[in-house]
């Protein structure tokens, strides 16, 4: 039986089970009608993109993460529904807001960004202030500003103008207020009764526009999307489809893809990555920065430019390299880099037979899931299970004695595989470690910095293992087996949905997500197709908290 036909049987059973559950729960799915709004915190990247899209790329924001967020069920996006803004974070955001407002109202920008001129520059002008605030409010709050809101900010601008003696400074102060308002720093998702199913709720048009835009472009909805929300186009399937197609065919969708995979693959770990420079001299600061970009560039090229199958990312030999990375991978690169010059990204294909096959052999994956001074098969295997296959690995028991692992001087235990024998032979350990160690031990041919090696402490590294009862000899044989595992696709599908909605799917949603994954696996698991299917489904625009 091929994996696909196993799937078909399992899918059938699953659908029946889901149907039973649906019937058991009752005719109405528990869409809560009590709740009207929900808050999702903006990430630092989304803040920057929004400001740049609304006010232009020339507005400088001094970068730096304001708040790292919290990972929940494998995604930072899920944590953003739990967190608030701490005092320190808000302080930082107010400081950023002042930077932005100063630039927006300076002589250079006011000609293009402020649509009117005040009667005098030293006194309040509610008319002109109102025009700007109304327009800015639409984009900043991702919905039309109410009269009360406009009045409030106009009055803030007026008082500030009287104190500071300058119309533009006063307007800037009101703009700071808008940039720290909860309606900007949080995505406020408002719901309304669903006309087709009266006792359920769905997101209102502007909240739909917001959710779609952050999902596909990782930024605030643009003018066209907001107009579609206003006209009611987003309430119809045709109108929604049109916007989805527009967003997906734009180059901007690369931003959305990068943001999603940065979250799913745990790239926030780069902020605190440390690899011992004395043990791994090839791993310079350039390598750390480049490694992240290499993987993201590979993803963009594979999934967007080539519109290829997601599963092939684990077996592809195509990638991009810089001179610093080429040194780590041990390959010659036909390009040099000037000191302080632009980083040259060169498309590169590893030759047949080369062990560098797919995402798992990228420096980003290998270094993020190692210790600073030594590799960890368990960490790497755990990363594959949790990030790629969405399988939870239980935490270790409290009282384990690891001292054997460190003792590299014992001739019987020269390689990590030998030292981790206990993991495989002790039944208490093996229960969990057979999930993680075999994959990690195969990847042992890459050290912490990603450099390829065939021996450890003089002993050859044994890279054989089994995955789902299929034996393999090395990385090159492992990755196709992994590629064909249905969990790879279902994990991507579920994570994409959770990321876009910032919540876990409900029981009913899990069912159609499962079906979606199965259908894609039968043809091709392409990014655009997956995004389209998720964004077209009505459940994507609800807030059901199971």
């Amino acid at each position: 039986m091929t994996p696909h036909s196993i799937n078909r049987d399992v899918r059938g059973t699953h659908t029946v089970a889901a149907l039973c559950a649906y019937l058991v729960l009752g005719a109405s799915v528990p869409n809560t009608t009590a709740q009207e709004s929900a808050l999702v915190r903006l990430t630092t990247a989304q803040y920057e993109h929004s400001v740049h899209d609304i006010f232009g790329k020339s507005i400088k924001i001094d970068g730096g993460i304001v708040d790292p967020g919290m990972r929940e069920n494998g995604l930072l996006a899920l944590g953003s529904r739990k967190l608030t803004l701490s005092a320190a974070a808000l302080e930082r955001y107010e400081s950023l807001a002042r930077q932005v407002a100063t630039q927006v109202t300076d002589r250079r920008h006011r000609a293009t960004l402020i649509p009117c001129k005040p009667q005098t520059e030293t006194a309040p002008d509610p008319e002109c202030a109102s025009q700007f605030i109304d327009r800015a409010g639409l984009f900043l709050f991702r919905r039309p500003a109410t009269n009360a809101e406009v009045q409030s900010y106009v009055s803030m601008a007026g008082s500030a103008t009287e104190t500071l003696g300058d119309f533009y400074d006063g307007l800037g102060a009101a703009l700071v207020g808008m940039l720290v308002a909860p309606d900007f720093l949080f995505r406020v998702e408002r719901t309304e009764p669903d006309p087709s199913q009266p006792d359920t709720q769905r997101l209102d048009a502007y909240s739909r526009a917001s959710r779609l835009s952050f999902f596909l472009w990782n930024t605030t909805p643009d003018a066209e999307l907001l107009a579609a929300a206003e006209s009611g186009a987003l309430d119809s399937d045709a109108g929604l489809q049109q916007q989805i197609d527009r967003l997906l065919s734009s180059r901007r969708s690369a931003d959305g893809l990068r943001a999603f995979f940065s979250d799913m693959l745990g790239f926030d770990g780069f902020a605190t990555l440390s690899v011992d420079a004395s043990l791994y001299p090839k791993f310079t600061k350039n390598v750390a920065d480049d490694a992240r970009e290499q993987t993201l560039r590979t993803l963009v090229q594979h999934l967007l430019d080539k519109n290829a199958d997601y599963r092939d990312l684990f077996v592809t030999r195509d990638t991009f390299l810089t001179p610093a990375l080429a040194a780590v991978y041990g390959v010659p690169l036909p390009r040099s880099q000037e000191l302080g010059g632009a980083v040259p990204w060169v498309p590169y294909r590893f030759p047949e037979g080369d062990p560098h096959v797919g995402l798992l052999t990228h420096v980003s994956f290998l270094s993020l899931h190692s210790h600073p001074g030594t590799t960890s098969p368990t960490l790497r295997g755990k990363a594959v299970r949790e990030n790629i296959l969405c399988q939870r690995v239980p935490p270790p028991p409290g009282d384990v004695d690891f001292s054997l692992v460190q003792d590299a001087s014992d001739p019987a235990f020269r390689t990590v595989r030998q030292r981790l024998t206990e993991h495989r032979e002790n039944p208490t350990c093996a229960a969990c470690h057979r999930m993680t160690d075999p994959i990690g031990l195969t990847l042992e041919v890459f050290d912490t910095s990603g450099v390829y090696r065939t021996t450890e402490n003089g002993a050859p590294i044994d890279t054989s293992g089994t995955f789902r009862r299929q034996p393999y000899a090395d990385v090159v044989e492992l990755v196709p087996i992994l590629r064909n595992d249905p969990a790879v696709t279902s994990c991507l599908v579920n994570r994409a949905f959770s990321y876009g909605t910032a919540r876990m799917p409900s029981t009913r949603e899990l069912s159609w997500l499962f079906d979606t994954g199965a259908e894609l696996m039968d043809t091709e698991v392409t990014w655009r197709d997956l995004m389209r299917r998720i964004a077209r489904n009505e459940d994507f625009y609800t807030n059901v908290f199971d």
Binding site: E36, L39, E91, R98, E162, T163, P182, Q406
Partner: protein, 444 residues
């Protein structure tokens, strides 16, 4: 105006462009007593509170002093604390109870001591002790509290206002320097002071933003209401910061502005030592200049990555992988790293003790609560946790003691400190970590 007619509570109401702005009466020199240490009416200089976290505990059986009470002998493992022994309390034998929950390694122990409760999973953190004590002592300062961590990861920290997330920590001493002593800082000892009009404007804008909260609060779910309340509390904190900056500051003779710092972030022992030293200095200056009264300083994550160059494993890996030396009976590298942590603590405490305020020092009006995640890191043990407090909190906490509280909940220390500050109710903590009896011989 003569001193007799005005008190510290007199408040001026000013009108700025039609928006009411409240300006507190500036602290005039006449309010301080002749020593410059207390207000003329006899009220002492404000008390402060800080937490200090280090990961992976100490080497068991080597750190517990053999005698209790005031004249105990400091064991060799804690020799770094010798210079501050008289202003220090050490608590041994204490534990954090799990009550049947899974031991979340490198988390539950610290969570229990910082919040009084242990939760089933990691995302369920609640109000921490610095928030509780800060409610009492931290009002009216420029920063409600300052959080910093020395390992470059802003998620490491144990301070939280409520259940909507941990307070992120500063990772860069330079950034913290700019935040405290950059824009908006006024040297309290300068002769002239003019309130900054832009600060007034910013303050009134924030107030107006706050005023809009009712509409939003009405429409969100109860759990989101808590988060929104958290957000508006942050807005109020920022308003408070600006109010403070608009006030003429109280002269504080011990306040000096430090030199700006430079960063060298990373997990190596030398880097953490440098980062910790810089943060300690910044925090001490911030306290003595009245910028804040509450701080939370972490050496780093409980999964401490502290390491020496060329050593393949970090501190956490070593606790699990370094063999116990058969003759010595302990893990030598881990012991050394634990001693480094204690040396850092001693440095912080000595910095505090170095700020003279009349007859006393800054250390005398603060309590620093030092805690860790495990009693024995190798076994993830929750028993026999080392706990430290430094400083007497304005004479309210007796110091120089070794308290051996075999089997007691470690929350008893946090509870005793709260009692010393006069905060909290008759008990603290949940389930088996609930305590209602402080160490009364420590309360002055």
């Amino acid at each position: 105006m003569s001193v007799n007619k005005i008190s510290r509570r007199t408040v001026l109401r000013g009108l700025v462009g039609g928006t009411a702005v409240t300006v507190g009466l500036p602290m005039l020199e006449c309010f301080l007593n002749t020593n410059g240490t207390a207000y003329a009416a006899g009220a002492p200089l404000p008390r402060c509170f800080g937490t200090w976290f280090w990961g992976l505990g100490l080497t068991p059986n080597l750190w517990e002093p053999t005698t209790t009470g005031r004249n105990y002998q400091l064991p060799d493992h804690l020799s770094a604390l010798e210079p501050i022994k008289d202003k220090l309390n050490i608590y041994s034998g204490m534990q954090v109870f799990l009550d049947g929950k899974v031991n979340q390694n490198h988390y539950s122990g610290a969570q229990g001591q910082a919040t009084g409760r242990v939760s089933k999973n990691g995302s369920d953190y609640s109000t921490s002790i610095d928030t509780i004590i800060g409610e009492q002592v931290g009002r009216g300062t420029r920063f409600r509290s300052i959080e910093a961590t020395c390992d470059g990861d802003s998620r490491t920290g144990w301070s939280a206002r409520d259940s909507s997330g941990l307070n992120p920590s500063e990772t860069s001493p330079l950034a913290l320097y700019t935040r405290i002593f950059g824009d908006g800082f006024t040297d309290p000892n300068l002769a002239d002071f003019t309130p900054d009009t832009t600060a007034m404007v910013r303050h009134s804008v924030l107030s107006a933003v706050s005023d809009q909260r009712k509409a939003l609060l009405r429409s969100v779910s109860p759990s989101d209401r808590i988060r929104l309340d958290g957000y508006f509390s942050s807005v109020r904190d920022l308003e408070q910061k600006l109010s403070f900056e608009l006030d003429r500051p109280t002269p504080l003779p011990a306040c000096t502005v430090p030199e700006p710092t430079s960063d060298d972030l990373g997990p190596l022992v030398s880097q953490v030592e440098n980062t910790h030293r810089q943060f300690a200095r910044l925090i001490v200056h911030a306290l003595s200049c009245g910028q804040t009264r509450v701080f939370n300083l972490s050496l780093g994550s409980a999964f401490s990555r502290l390491r020496t160059p060329g050593e393949p494993s970090g501190y956490h890996s070593l606790t699990h992988e370094e063999p116990v030396d058969p003759t010595l009976g302990y893990q030598p590298k881990c012991k050394w790293l634990g001693e480094q942590c204690m040396a850092f603590f001693a440095e912080l405490v000595q910095e505090l003790d170095g700020i003279r305020e009349g007859d006393n020092t800054l250390l005398d009006r603060i309590v620093v609560f030092g805690f860790t995640d495990h009693g024995e890191a190798r076994m993830h043990s929750m028993k026999r946790l080392p706990v430290l407090t430094a400083g007497s909190g304005g004479g309210r906490l007796n110091t120089g003691y070794h308290v051996a509280a075999e089997g007691d909940a470690a929350t008893r220390v946090g509870f005793t400190v709260q009692q010393a500050f006069g905060v909290g109710s008759g008990s603290w903590g949940t389930e088996s970590n609930n305590v209602s009896k402080p160490f009364s011989h420590l309360l002055a």
